[in-house]
């Protein structure tokens, strides 16, 4: 029962600075590598100046949306402009399939997350930070709570309260407004925007929402200096390092810190040791399961937002999941669609109904009951979901499915011609069980349209 590999693959150690195999869980250990020094210095500077430094670094959100973190902070009104409390919520609801980096941050460098929270709190003059952590993360919750308690006892919090709020199992609560609803004690169903959380977020107050990795990067940015940070990686837009999540059919999976611009080929073959058994790489789940799959001919595309964007890919949460030749791509698309069907909150019709359509059609293809026109119908359903809902969960189902149908159309056709799956039971994902909603009273009707 092995441990997750977590290490710096290339470039400067920033998020993982000071971590060399031994978790920096104790305050003394963290202080020994310069911990909380950036907070101390930042507190002597004007809050606006700190925001300006984050803007200068061009840090972008590591949760998936890649929005400029500094700009987001600059939208928050200053306390003299608004008679409401100002909140920070840290999104630790890491649930995107293939993503396991925030968890390692919380286990390995929890104090850096706390330091990042406190610097951000100083920058936007907030007294209350909520960390929304997914309910399944128990060890991670204990690790961060331990760091908060230690920091409080050492007087580091200086009047700022950091409260961990544990989720209860819902992917949609990783969506920022779904998270706010959940934190307010409601069903985690996304809100209509505007108003944006910076103006009316938690309890209708100005709220800054950032991913764990984004917040944890802030002390590292101040340590190297924002102009220096802005030169790392693939400037001007994809600055700095990030934690890439390498998994799937690869020799050495793990969390690897590396600068933006590293190629998937380098990450998979040099850092990760390649595909086991010298098998052929068939596709890469790039950015997370919510995005178009990458085909082998694009393995030299630098992992930065611009280069990926030019080819229709997304950097997402830094996921690189290797899929080898043994996997049936229809089964892959089906399992991905099942996930989104299960996680759809049900608020918007195109997503609630569309994800069920995708599952039904993909199952028909997989079982050889479909016809050529059903492949077009699949793409049509995707088209009727994308951009038509309050949040991007529906898009996240449609984009990978559409990419599989488009890029692997021959393999979909083979299912039609063969009258079933040409892989038989040899595919790695064959018969893979997908959870259904345990609360539904009629499990048989789970996938049926109502």
């Amino acid at each position: 029962m092995s441990e997750t590999t977590v290490r710096v693959a290339e470039g400067p150690a920033l998020v993982l600075a000071g971590y060399e195999g031994k978790p920096l869980r104790d305050l003394a250990d963290y202080r020994a590598v310069g911990g909380y020094e950036q907070l101390e210095q930042a507190r002597t500077r004007d809050p606006q100046a700190v925001i300006q430094e984050i803007v200068e670094s061009n840090l972008r959100g590591r949760g998936g949306a890649f929005f400029p973190t500094g700009r987001k902070a600059s939208f928050i009104p200053t306390p003299d402009k608004i008679a409401k409390p100002i909140y920070i919520t840290v999104n630790a609801d890491e649930s995107e399939p293939g993503t396991f980096k925030d968890r390692e941050i919380m286990l390995k460098v929890p104090h850096r997350l706390v330091e990042g929270c406190l610097i951000a709190a100083h920058a936007i003059q907030s007294q209350q930070v909520y960390i929304y952590i997914r309910g399944e993360y128990l060890a991670e919750y204990e690790s961060v709570q331990g760091a908060i308690d230690e920091a409080r006892a050492a007087g580091i919090l200086a009047g700022v309260e950091i409260t961990i709020h544990r989720g209860a199992g819902a992917y949609i609560c990783g969506e920022e407004t779904g998270l706010l609803e959940s934190l307010e004690g409601k069903r985690g169903q996304p809100r209509s925007k505007p108003p944006f959380p910076a103006i009316s977020g938690l309890y209708a107050s100005p709220t800054l929402i950032n991913n764990v990795e984004s917040i944890t990067t802030i002390p590292a940015i101040l340590a190297v200096g924002p102009p220096e940070y802005a030169k790392i990686g693939a400037p001007p837009d994809s600055t700095g390092t990030r934690l890439f999540c390498l998994s799937g059919n690869v020799e050495r999976p793990g969390v690897y810190e590396a600068p933006h611009g590293i190629t998937p080929r380098h990450l998979i073959y040099d850092v990760g040791g390649g595909v086991p058994g010298d098998r052929t790489l068939k596709a890469v789940m790039m950015g997370g399961s919510s995005f178009p799959v990458m085909t082998p001919d694009d393995l030299d595309t630098p992992l930065d937002a611009d280069s990926l964007g030019q080819k229709g890919y997304f950097i997402g949460s830094g996921v690189v999941t290797v899929i080898d030749e043994r996997t049936c791509i229809v089964q892959f698309a089906l399992r991905v669609a099942q996930f989104y069907m299960h996680e759809s909150c049900g608020k918007c019709t195109p997503c609630r109904v569309g994800t069920r359509w995708l599952v039904q059609l993909l199952r028909a293809v997989e079982e050889g009951r479909a016809q050529e026109r059903d492949l077009d119908l699949l793409l049509d359903v995707c088209d009727r979901i994308i951009g038509k809902c309050l949040c991007v969960l529906g898009d996240s189902a449609a984009m990978p499915v559409a990419s599989c149908v488009t890029k692997f159309r021959d393999e979909f056709r083979a299912h039609l011609e063969h009258g079933g799956c040409p892989f038989g039971t040899d595919s790695q994902l064959a018969r893979l069980f997908a959870p259904v909603d345990q609360h539904a009273h009629t499990p048989v009707a789970q996938e049926a349209l109502v």
Binding site: S95, R166, G185, G248, S289, R335, P435, Q438
Partner: protein, 153 residues
Amino acid sequence: MGFYEEVQEIRARYPEGTRSAVLPALRLAQERHGWLSREAIEETADALELTPAYCYSIASFYDMFDLQPAGRHEIAVCTNVCCGLVNAQAVLEAFEHELGVGPGETTPDGAVTLRAVECLGGCSTPTLVAVDHVYRQSVTPEDVPAILAELAE
């Protein structure tokens, strides 16, 4: 401390007049009762000064709340794509075989509830299995009997 008092402590962590304590209070109730029975939901609603219907509407949204009796132990096997690529199905089947129940079911003696769950965030060490919420990484079908033996102790 009684349940009511503990819930009041949770409520104090959040601004007055908000419902933020619902999730932690329901988790506490589930820990005490083993699952969210009608009585557990009513007790939670009373402590929060909310209606049972509201609390039920929240409990039914989130996967980790049990609205049916659950076993004393929980085994949650990740069957999302990353674990699936590296044999999660075989691990799930090994549990099914050893326990004699399918995903979502509880053994007749009420000892273990088996679940298949979505990505738990342990993709580099498949298959990830959460045993009573504690993560076990890189679980293979061969590890299954030993895990169950631990629970039987």
